[in-house]
Each structure stands twice: as C-alpha cells, then as structure tokens.
C-alpha cells in the first residue's frame, strides 16, 4: 500500500461502527509512501497513527474514477 499526503484512506470493515470510515492522510511514515500513516478521520476529526490491513485501501483525490483505481492493500502491517 502506498499513499501520499492528501490521499484518502478507506476502511471498509469499520462498517461495524455505523459507516465505512474515511480519513485523510496527513503524513506518511517514510519516503516510499508505505505505512503507517497519520490520518485525520472524517467521522470524529481525530488523528491517529494508522497501520492499514487488507480491509483498507487508498483513494487518490486526483483520480477521475477513484473507485476504479483504488489501490487495495495486500500486505498486513
């Protein structure tokens, strides 16, 4: 999984808590874009250090069709 500052992280499994959870990547842990990421979550505005798993993927805001081009996480942190 690779992300840049400004990308969106979508965690599908968080449906359990009422909705799919979406957050903005505000910092990345290394220059390769690999996780963990510091994410500001849209549901509560909090920032956490997020270690993504296979239930998360990245959407790039610049993509015209983000759903079609979403990068799926294939490796566990």
């Amino acid at each position: 999984m690779k992300a840049e500052v400004g990308d969106l992280v979508v965690v599908a499994s968080r449906k359990l808590l009422g909705q799919v959870r979406v957050g903005e990547v505000i910092a990345v842990g290394d220059s390769s874009g690999g996780g963990p990421y510091r994410v500001r979550w849209s549901d509560d505005g909090r920032e956490t250090l997020f270690f993504p798993g296979p239930d998360a993927h990245v959407e790039h805001p610049s993509d015209k069709h983000p759903d079609a081009q979403a990068e799926t996480v294939s490796d566990k942190q």
Partner: protein
C-alpha cells in the same frame, strides 16, 4: 516491542505540552495492547453495535479472549468482524488503540496453557469459549478527552 517516534513527511506543525506527546511521536500499538489486559469489545448484534469490557491476552499478533456463555458477546463475535479498544500508558503518555479484525472460536485444546493462564478463569459448571481476534487494521492515538 518498543515505542517509536516517526518523523513524518508533510507534518508541518509541532505541538508539545506536558499532557500530550510530541506531535510526531506515537506508541507502538502492540505495546499498548500488551500493557493493557482489558479493553472494550465492540460487536454487531441484531439490535446494533454493543460493547462489553473483556480481559484479553496477546498470543503473537493475535488477541485471545475467554468468554463465558452468559456473556452475550460470546454468541455474536464468532466469525464476525469486531473492534477491540484498549487504553494503556506507554512512555509516560496514555494511548488508545483500536484493533479491528475477524473473531473466531477456537477449541480449548488449541489454547496453550501459558496463554490460558493469562485469561479469565471461570468456575467449573460455567460454560465458556476461547475466542481469537486476528487484527487486520490498527490505529493508535493519545487518549485525550
């Protein structure tokens, strides 16, 4: 495991005070989980999300629970997606970890005695089950109001 501090690209602001960790400093979520031995287990029922406080222990990168049958969570969590939230101090700050993943029941004989010894013990006659959670996503943040 040790706590670590990560210098982030794109993090322009800094914020430090005595009650909050430096902005770029985060604890290792597994260390927070290992420091706490109880947490809030969230699971989905037919009436919405429920939460119960449970004791747990770590077995590698799995979270082990020993729940009695009279706990409603026991009947909902197996083969379901759950979230465990735990709070513990690491490096002098309080951290909150959310670990989400699928839970499954495992047979008693598959649980190591050393692992079982760290879990709740239930009296003879009270049916109970061992549950394992395999976290897929983790996040950690300072535990602030």
């Amino acid at each position: 495991m040790t706590a670590h501090s990560v210098q982030f690209r794109g993090s322009g602001r800094t914020h430090e005070n005595q009650s909050s960790p430096p902005r770029n400093h985060y604890a290792n979520p597994w260390q927070v989980l290992s420091e706490a031995n109880d947490g809030r287990l969230l699971f989905l029922t037919g009436h919405g999300v429920r939460a119960v406080v449970v004791q747990y222990t770590l077995a590698g990168e799995e979270i082990m629970l020993h729940l009695p049958d009279f706990n409603e969570a026991t009947h909902y969590v197996s083969n379901s997606h759950v979230v465990l939230e735990a709070i513990a101090p690491v490096d002098g700050y309080r951290w909150k970890v959310s670990a989400s993943g699928d839970a499954a029941e495992i047979p008693d004989h598959d649980v190591l005695a050393a692992t079982a010894a760290h879990l709740e013990q239930w009296p003879t006659g009270i049916a109970s089950r061992y549950i394992v959670i395999k976290p897929t996503s983790l996040d950690v943040a300072p535990d602030e109001p």
